[in-house]
């Protein structure tokens, strides 16, 4: 079943035409990677799906329903979660409050917290600590956990390994694998080996357009075709 359909999306920042007709599909249960160089429109694609930067034209359908024209919180209410670049945890809220605020129904909070602390036992240890006092890796865990605790069916994950030490990246990859057990993932990742390891399929974006797509099983991280699009 197709969960997300992005069709001929054109998105602008002011006068700057960033997405020039992006089209892609994500099936339920898949992990799909969006790869490409910096500034080619990967993050903007995620923001366009969430309606944080609404497209000027084109269509974004989730479970067959049009999202363009809806507000971001309405998109989130439909089960689309966001694990953003640079984590963006609420630094003055405790770990537990960061998770509580992400659960749509207050009655579900105890069960959701129990479930997420089982997946991320480290976070349970810091539940009363302010998120701003956590390390970068711990904040990334919290960001992933926040996406999961919202009971989302689709998670839009943006550069989860950015700025993290290799050991922490491994832990984040494990966390994302755990997330993939529970939700469908559309993953933006510059770290090609990590992206290909996690994903079932990939799209390459260049200059605001999808230029390549395929199954990750058919390519390797040193594939010349991919390298061409990823090198500056």
């Amino acid at each position: 079943m197709t969960l997300l359909e992005v069709e001929d999306v054109h998105t602008y920042y002011g006068q700057s035409h960033v997405l020039e007709g992006v089209s892609l599909e994500v099936e339920a249960g898949e992990v799909v990677a969006l790869v490409g160089r910096n500034g080619v429109g990967k993050t903007t694609t995620l923001r366009s799906v969430l309606q944080l930067t609404p497209p000027r034209s084109g269509s974004v359908r989730y479970r067959g329903e049009e999202l363009v024209g809806h507000r971001t919180h309405e998109v989130a209410d439909r089960g689309v979660g966001w694990i953003p670049e640079e984590r963006r945890v609420f630094s003055r809220l405790t770990v537990e409050e960061n998770l509580r605020v992400s659960v749509p129904d207050p009655e579900d909070v105890p069960a959701a917290l129990a479930r997420v602390f089982e997946t991320f036992p480290d976070l349970d240890e810091f539940r009363d600590k302010e998120a701003g006092d956590l390390s970068g890796g711990q904040q990334q865990m919290l960001s992933v956990a926040r996406g999961l605790v919202g009971d989302n069916d689709l998670l839009l994950v943006d550069e989860p390994s950015e700025g993290l030490a290799p050991l922490i990246v491994e832990a984040v990859a494990e966390a994302l694998s755990a997330a993939a057990e529970e939700a469908t993932l559309l993953l933006v990742e510059q770290n090609l080996p990590l992206a290909l390891d996690l994903a079932d399929r990939f799209y390459v974006i260049d200059h605001g357009q999808v230029v390549e797509e395929g199954a990750t099983d058919d390519v390797s991280a040193d594939d010349e075709r991919l390298r061409r699009y990823l090198s500056a």
Binding site: L50, L52, R71, T72, H73, A76, D77, W82, P84, R88, F90, S91, R92, L93, E97, R100, V101, S102, P104, P106, R146, G150
Partner: protein, 333 residues
């Protein structure tokens, strides 16, 4: 000669009765400042809007509270009933100005969120001018003197609130005690709202990162409306508290007289932090009370105490520009 006079004044100040009296006066001032500034800081913390109309809304609250009391209180109304009616007036003005605040946010401020902050400043400043002139016209038309304190509203004060109550060596004004009680209630109420309710959690999350909060399913625009309404409701309730006060009263200049110290409190505490606002209100209120005692009793120059409040502002801005509890770059959307 001057030194001897100063030492004599200092000895008098250090008398327990004087110290306690000044302390109670400081507490009452702190309570007033925190009630007014709390709304201002909540609005700035979440929405990044510096609401210049806040003082005018306090002034409107004082007039509406006064109007309610003048209409509800007759000559034969007893003291306890008057006090109860006063509490009802606070609740009515709170609800009324809350609704007005909600309408202002939806109708006037919301269309400006995507524009630079200067637009919101100009809008709220313009709103101040409109509200002040509107009240001036109405009070002139109905022969309610706009420049002096509104005596008819003052006249509704129960007799037992006018005289001091002796608590040991200190004479405490019951109105001051009432102001302190309502100030404490405001602080506890807002603290409980922010830390114990789900909506408070939304406010705190939205204050830090409104885009992330929206992406988590929070209708941030609705939270903006609720917070703006709460802020203006608090401003109005503070106005009712000032209606009977001998130092304030319902008058058009009340708008600027309350806005300036409220801004000082918010900036000294750190823009957008409620904890900072509470601490700064106590610092500013206590300093004001101490300086008022000194200047009124020994220098006999009553204009200077207000200056010290602004000296605190200058001092904090020089040493710690983000305020006592402020975080650089935090506040607004």
């Amino acid at each position: 000669m001057m030194l001897a006079s100063f030492l004599e004044a200092l000895l008098q100040f250090l008398q327990p009765a004087t110290l306690l009296g000044v302390f109670v006066d400081g507490l009452a001032k702190s309570a007033i400042f925190v009630t007014i500034a709390a709304g201002l800081t909540l609005i700035f913390g979440l929405m990044g809007v510096l609401n210049f109309a806040h003082g005018s809304l306090t002034m409107v609250g004082a007039y509406l509270g006064g109007l309610f009391m003048v209409l509800a209180v007759g000559e034969a109304t007893g003291g306890t009933t008057r006090l109860l009616l006063f509490l009802v007036a606070i609740a009515v003005v709170f609800a009324l100005l809350g609704s007005v605040g909600g309408a202002i946010e939806v109708g006037l401020i919301r269309p400006l969120y995507d524009r630079p902050p200067l637009y919101q400043i100009l809008l709220t400043f313009g709103l101040t001018l409109v509200l002040d002139e509107l009240v001036r016209i109405v009070t002139l038309f109905y022969d309610v003197q706009p420049r002096a304190d509104w005596q008819a509203a003052r006249g509704t004060k129960p007799a037992f609130l006018a005289s001091g109550v002796q608590l040991g060596p200190v004479s405490v004004g019951p109105l001051e005690a009432l102001q302190v009680a309502l100030g404490v209630l405001t602080v506890v109420g807002i603290w409980a709202f922010l830390t114990r309710t789900r909506y408070g959690l939304y406010v705190r999350a939205g204050s830090e990162d409104d885009e992330m909060a929206e992406a988590l399913g929070i209708d941030v625009r609705r939270v903006f409306t609720v917070v703006f309404a709460l802020g203006t409701a608090l401003a109005g309730a503070a106005g009712v508290l000032l209606m009977w006060d001998k130092n304030w009263g319902a008058s058009v200049p009340l708008a600027s007289e309350t806005l300036l110290p409220a801004f000082v409190v918010v900036i000294v505490g750190g823009l957008g932090t409620f904890r900072g606002t509470v601490v700064a209100a106590v610092i500013v209120g206590m300093t004001d009370a101490v300086m008022t005692w000194w200047f009124v009793n020994h220098v006999e120059f009553t204009g200077l105490p207000e200056l010290t409040v602004f000296l605190i502002l200058v001092g904090v801005l020089v040493v710690r520009p983000q305020g006592l509890f402020g975080v650089e770059g935090v506040g607004g959307h």
